[in-house]
Symmetry: C2
Subunit: 309 residues, 2 copies
């Protein structure tokens, strides 16, 4: 089944300890759709300016991502994010954000878009997420958000969350949303806000998934060369939703495998700037890392050796 994603298609200027790039293709919806496109059909709802040219378009077209619902506005610029990472690649420092075309964005969905069974609301204004959510009669809705909206648009975010099945956010966002330092307690609180499932991304520490009565912990793929973490979370969400949409399954086991494929897609994303590594990916590489994630977590149960006392 196919996926609709709404979120930013943008340009990024990124500096990491390993290099620097100006004005490269970025945006949550970009990373998400390229990652998910290895699993199933993807359609993007977003807006770009006239700086979005044939080179950027190629990234979507070569992955057969449907950009019919990608709006273009002449005489304006695309969303632009400028950020920097230090040696602790888990933390991005935002230097500048220019909403540009996104400031007045009112998504108008095509009738095909409205009928997409899987919907991902990438990290944008909660009102925009809600507007799209209400236009799409999806079977499964997942969403991301960020500290900025938790702090500055909490009522709108809470309204949106009521209509979301799976929330996919990072560690500090989960604690901030719940107002609680302990992650397990945070999860319990968030699961009363609407989502029936919470996925918490923890960078190099992997990801964990909560429902009211289940808990799953998955490692990150061990990497020697992390080049640029931008887009890791969105690539994760792309692999996760891609797997679910491709299989149509929604039981706990399928959700766990979806987390593994999310972790795999994130691990490739960080190996190069923009979505360059994702663009070069093969199915064999994806399947190989998924198999390896199983090897590195596998152990056989054994009885506890009890000391006779």
């Amino acid at each position: 089944m196919s996926i609709l994603v709404v979120g930013s298609v943008a340009f990024d200027s990124v500096k990491t300890p390993f290099g620097e790039r100006e004005h490269i293709l970025g945006g949550a919806a970009t990373y998400f759709s390229v990652a998910a496109s290895f699993f199933t059909d993807v359609r993007v709802v977003a807006v770009v300016g006239d700086d979005f040219g044939p080179d950027e378009e190629t990234v979507f077209i070569e992955r057969s991502v449907d950009i019919t619902d990608l709006e273009r506005i002449d005489g304006q610029k695309s969303f632009h994010w400028k950020g920097e990472y230090g040696y602790d690649l888990n933390v991005a420092q935002t230097l500048d954000t220019q909403l540009n075309v996104f400031a007045g964005f009112k998504p108008k969905l095509s009738s095909e878009a409205r009928e997409t069974p899987y919907l991902f609301l990438a990290n944008i204004q909660p009102e925009l997420q809600l507007e799209v959510r209400r236009q799409v009669g999806a079977k499964l809705v997942a969403a991301d958000t960020m500290n900025y909206w938790i702090e500055n648009a909490r009522p709108e975010l809470e309204t949106t969350l009521k209509e979301v099945d799976i929330l996919i956010i990072n560690d500090t966002e989960a604690r901030e949303l719940a107002g609680e330092p302990n992650l397990v307690r945070s999860a319990r609180r968030i699961l009363t806000m609407g989502p029936k499932r919470l996925v918490v991304k923890r960078g190099e520490y992997g990801a964990v998934m909560f429902t009211e009565n289940s808990y799953f912990s998955a490692p990150a793929y061990p990497l020697e060369d992390v080049f640029d973490p931008t887009g890791a979370g969105d690539s994760f969400a792309g692999g996760f939703m891609g797997y679910l949409a491709a299989t149509g399954a929604d039981d706990e086991n399928a959700m766990r495998r979806a987390i593994i494929f999310g972790s795999v897609m994130a691990s490739f994303d960080v190996e190069d700037f923009s979505c360059e590594r994702l663009r070069r990916l093969t199915y064999e590489e994806i399947a190989g890392r998924a198999r390896r994630l199983r090897q590195i977590t596998h152990f056989e149960e054994s009885d506890m050796p009890r000391r006779p006392m």
Copy 2:
């Protein structure tokens, strides 16, 4: 088979967001031996002052920990550590350290101690670790250390490491020892320093284990109530070594199960001050959390659903 541990038996004054305790029993060797005592026989090499009384002795005796090699010095005080934790329970702030009896400690091992097959060198001066290591013809030697020794006694630490089979340290210590921000690269470097196996403790994110050609990632047990993280790393090492000594196995699978039991013992330790929770533990509780750690990491392998393009 039995274990010998050398390290501190001490008094701690600890403050966490959930409470405060003055002069409670602590020390790496204390936590280690109480945790390991659930699996096998343990003997402690350490030194205490005359403030170590019957109440403290009881903690060892009730767990049948052999304290024949625990030296007592009249007219002096035991090692004392004062520390504080904020809401980020992963980071302890040391407010005061008084070596007291440990300042001039020269371990004199009994002949039984010298023949112990499993040896754990808890976090103390690397010279002391080496002195004990050379007196014991152990089958398996594991060690811990800390940033202080990495920074202030590096040559001595490097000498000790050459005679250690398994190094069990935390995340930041591994990066600092290797002088490298990436953990996978750090591990590769550390595995050229002597140890053939590296276990990296990551607090609430679990633990990972490296050899030259294997990698294992284990989660922490998910807890809603973390009360005092003091001793978690030593309880982890106690469960890990306890399992290995009890089974006598040293293959990769056994090492992985040992990590799981280490993770379980750490998860209990943090639920109360000092080793109070460990003292109340039952075999059933330990076995139960080990089983649960398998459930929360388990997933079935599946083929990657490949999108036809």
